[in-house]
Symmetry: C2
Subunit: 196 residues, 2 copies
């Protein structure tokens, strides 16, 4: 059975960097943006749109008669995402970041990691890494970080009976507040190999 | 400055075993029962009593006139414990288990670990490790595990403004539900060394 590492993370905590570096260290496949690309292929939707929507909680839309409905395109994206993640996980050893991967693959018993950090550290990381975030004030950036995580939490709770970010749902919870990610990858990889 | 690793843990999760093995792997001093022994020396109290009391929340005792007071012996033990932990941490690199060590040593920036597991795994571990627990029914054992942790939580909240077991207060949260502790020590030690 393939070895699967899933990474769930707070926005700005460096979870994606950990996933990418871990996959290189362990020589595992790495899936993140590939999932979005595959959804676009299967649904014919635009990549920017899918990117935007895949991390938003499903919204209700009102029609001209005042009736509200779930947004069908969002539902299609989430359903498609689930199938794609399950297919990718069958291909071989891999690291999958985000997209509710820990919950979608629960039956395959992945090694599940949750990455988090203090708000101060997340703001600092966003400033260093994200060109988009450069234009935001600190206040706007904090709001963005909270909004993204609020949506991740909502999506998680739509597809799993557990709570997003609660340590009980993960094998390891990593606080990146005081660490230099690239320095700790060899040890982290060794620990995970011993667990898998 | 000495390197300090603190281990806080749920009862039955194997936190003490992790601490002991980590200290051997890293060649760090290990403090756990030493703290109790030192309290006995300094206060003149009995070891069994100190052992029992050091993990219980401070209780209120009523006098003959119906007035309630804090239990002074318990307060003495907690105060003594804080001093001893701070003295030990100055001596050199060490692993300290329990006794609110993460909070007492916060200013020394220890690498703080919280160890936890599913209730099923904790019951199983208690059955394997604890001679005292052999006589208890499963229901009694679950109650004991919950009671011990409830007391640890209360003590934590007396000495720190944070919540016991909340991942934000630790550098690493380790779920021992699916792991064989002795197998994962080299990787864990390597990760911590990279962080320290």
């Amino acid at each position: 059975m393939p070895k699967i590492i899933t990474i769930s993370r707070e926005f700005g905590s460096g979870g994606r960097e950990i996933g990418k570096r871990l996959s290189e260290e362990l020589d595992f496949a790495y899936y993140d943006q590939e999932i979005i690309k595959e959804i676009c292929k299967q649904t014919g939707m635009n990549e920017n749109f899918v990117n935007e929507v895949s991390e938003r909680a499903i919204t209700l839309v009102a029609n001209q008669f005042g009736h509200t409905f779930y947004n069908q395109q969002q539902i299609d994206i989430l359903v498609s995402q689930q199938k794609i993640i399950q297919e990718l996980a069958k291909k071989g050893d891999c690291v999958i970041v985000g997209h509710g991967c820990a919950e979608i693959l629960a039956d395959q018993h992945p090694f599940s990691i949750f990455v988090y950090a203090s708000m101060e550290a997340k703001v600092k990381r966003c400033r260093l890494k994200g060109p988009e975030e450069e234009k935001l004030t600190d206040k706007e950036l904090v709001r963005k970080i909270k909004d993204v995580d609020k949506n991740r939490k909502k999506i998680h709770e739509m597809i799993a009976p557990t709570k997003w970010g609660e340590k009980e749902n993960y094998d390891l919870c990593l606080n990146t507040t005081h660490i230099e990610i690239k320095e700790v990858i060899p040890g982290l990889a060794k620990y995970i190999q011993e667990c898998l």
